[in-house]
Each structure stands twice: as C-alpha cells, then as structure tokens.
C-alpha cells in the first residue's frame, strides 16, 4: 500500500507524499488504496483511478504528455549544454594566446594570412636596414 501511496500526492497538501501525509484527506486516500488492493486492483489501475478522479497532478511523476515533457527534457539538456560550454571555456583558457612575432617560430592559430604577410614584410624591412 505504501509503495503506491509514495507515488501519489494529495492536492490538499501539495508537497507531502501520500504515504507520510498526516491529514484526514490523505488518510482517506490511503484507506481507499487499501480497499482497492484488497479488491485485486493492480498498481496501474489504482493510479489511473486517482488520475481520473483527482487529476494528473496527484502523480509524483507527471505523465509524459504535452508541456510535461519539459520536466524530462530540460534538465538533461541544460546539464549537457552547461558541460559543453564549460569544456569549451576550459579549453580556450588553457590554449596559448601569446605569439612571438619576431622569430616567426611560434604562431597562434588565430594568425591570419594578412598578419603573416605583414610580419614577412616587416622582417624583410628589418633585414634591409641591418
């Protein structure tokens, strides 16, 4: 009986599962579950009875329909997106950002062809003046 009651919430006391709720309304519900079990009803049938009579909001796990899907999709999507952006940010923080233009030995990926051309011409000018 408690296994089923744990999966239900009475609308009168919204944040307390039925199995531990001390109100009279919840006591009546637990009694009803006990009666239904003794009549041979299955867990699914009992839960369906409660949904039909009191609405889907009595379920601890909202049914996977309509806007309720957001409850199931949003948290993993947000966690994955957060992990992705963290990974990207860490990778960029750890990348070398300083390039040595004089030697030409170290260049960052961000160097554009225009920059290369500029550096080459600069080096040529410097050589001419030596």
């Amino acid at each position: 009986m408690n296994a089923i009651a744990k999966q239900l919430y009475c609308p009168v006391c919204e944040s307390t599962p039925l199995d531990v709720c001390p109100t009279e309304a919840c006591r009546q519900w637990r009694e009803l579950i006990r009666t239904q079990l003794s009549q041979g009803m299955s867990e699914t049938e009992i839960k369906q009875y409660f949904v039909d009579n009191y609405g889907a909001r009595v379920l601890a796990e909202p049914p996977r329909t309509g806007l309720n899907w957001l409850v199931y999709i949003l948290p993993p999507v947000i966690i994955l997106a957060g992990a992705f952006f963290l990974f990207r940010s860490f990778r960029e923080w750890t990348k070398p950002k300083v390039a040595s233009a004089g030697s030409g030995a170290e260049r960052t990926e961000a160097s554009s062809p225009d920059k290369d051309d500029y550096v080459t011409r600069l080096e040529e000018e410097l050589k001419k003046r030596k």
Partner: protein, 188 residues
C-alpha cells in the same frame, strides 16, 4: 617582440539568439504559471465558463445524473465546494440545507454541492449525516475547482441569472440569513 592576438572563436550569433530566446521563453512560462497561482479565486464580475458536474446517485437533478451550468440559465446558482474531511464545512452544512429548503419551492435558485478531493463513501456519509438534499457530485479530475481556482474548502460561489459570478464566500457561512442576504441581492 611579442603581441597578443585576439581570439575570434566563440559561440555563433544564431546559437546565442536561440539560447536567449529559449531562456526568455522559459522565464515567461514560469512567470505566467506563478502569476496564475497567485491570482486567487475567480473574481466577481467574471462570466463563468460552462462545465459539467456528474451527480451522486440519490442526489440527481430532476432525474439527471449530470448537469451543466448552462442548464440553469435564468436561475441563480449557489455553488458550494466542500469535502468530508473539512471541519469548517460541517459548520455551514445545516445552514446551506436550510437555505435550500427555503428557496426550493420557488425554483429561482439552484444549490449545487461539489465534493472536492474526497472519496465517494466518505462524501456520501457526510451528505447523509447532515441531511443534505440538494444536488451534489464529485469534482472529477478537480477540473471545476481548478477553473474557479479555489484556495480551499468551504468556498461558495454565487452566479447570477446571466452566468456571471457576483459573490464569493471563502470559509463557512455563519447563519442562514447570511446566505439569504447574498441571494437577495440578485432576486427581483
């Protein structure tokens, strides 16, 4: 010679726009839900949408096992939300029944009881205990109570002959006269 080369890589603009739109949409949705929750009950002056109330056996209306609000156009409807587990409801049960007995012969006023989040055996026992005779039925799926955005029980809604709510009583009535005075506001 060293120089800092700016990093040009980042999240594309279209991705940023989608993310922001998503966040704004989500916040708007949460805002709408929260504001609906804090609105309180339906306020006087509101036209009440039609709804269907199934009736307990023995508490039918003129032999019908379910009624619609629209069935009572031209009549004043007193809609009382109650539950067998609700102690304050017991305080007003006798007053409501006495008021019903007063208006029943005239046929201008209809009393409807809506049993909120209750089990049928307990609800029936309550009706029997207090000798209630006017039509009563369960709020299947709590659809009607959600429509009225009730905050608890007992709550009573007075709907005029045009289907417009004109008075809300939160909590139990203290006397039959209190009920009569509210009904008298809309009776010729």
């Amino acid at each position: 010679m060293t120089e800092t080369i700016p990093q040009k890589r980042g999240v594309p603009l279209w991705v940023q726009i989608i993310i922001w739109l998503f966040i704004v949409g989500l916040l708007a949705l949460v805002g709408v839900i929260l504001s609906k929750r804090q609105q309180g009950t339906v306020q006087p002056g509101a036209a009440i949408p039609d709804f269907t109330l199934p009736l307990f056996s023995g508490y039918e209306y003129e032999g019908r096992s379910e009624v619609k609000l629209s069935d009572f156009q031209g009549k004043l409807v007193v809609l009382n939300f109650w539950a067998s587990w609700c102690k304050p409801c017991e305080q007003e049960a006798a007053e409501l029944e006495a008021a019903w007995k007063f208006y029943e012969p005239g046929g201008e006023v209809i009393f409807l009881g809506i049993d909120y989040v209750d089990t049928e055996p307990e609800g029936r026992a309550y009706l029997k205990k207090f000798g209630i005779t006017y039509s009563n039925g369960p709020d299947m799926g709590t659809k009607i109570s959600q429509m009225f955005r009730i905050r608890g029980v007992p709550e009573t809604y007075f709907i005029d002959q045009y289907g417009v709510l004109y008075y809300v009583k939160v909590g139990p009535f203290l006397s039959v006269d209190e009920i009569k005075s509210i009904i008298a506001q809309k009776l010729p």
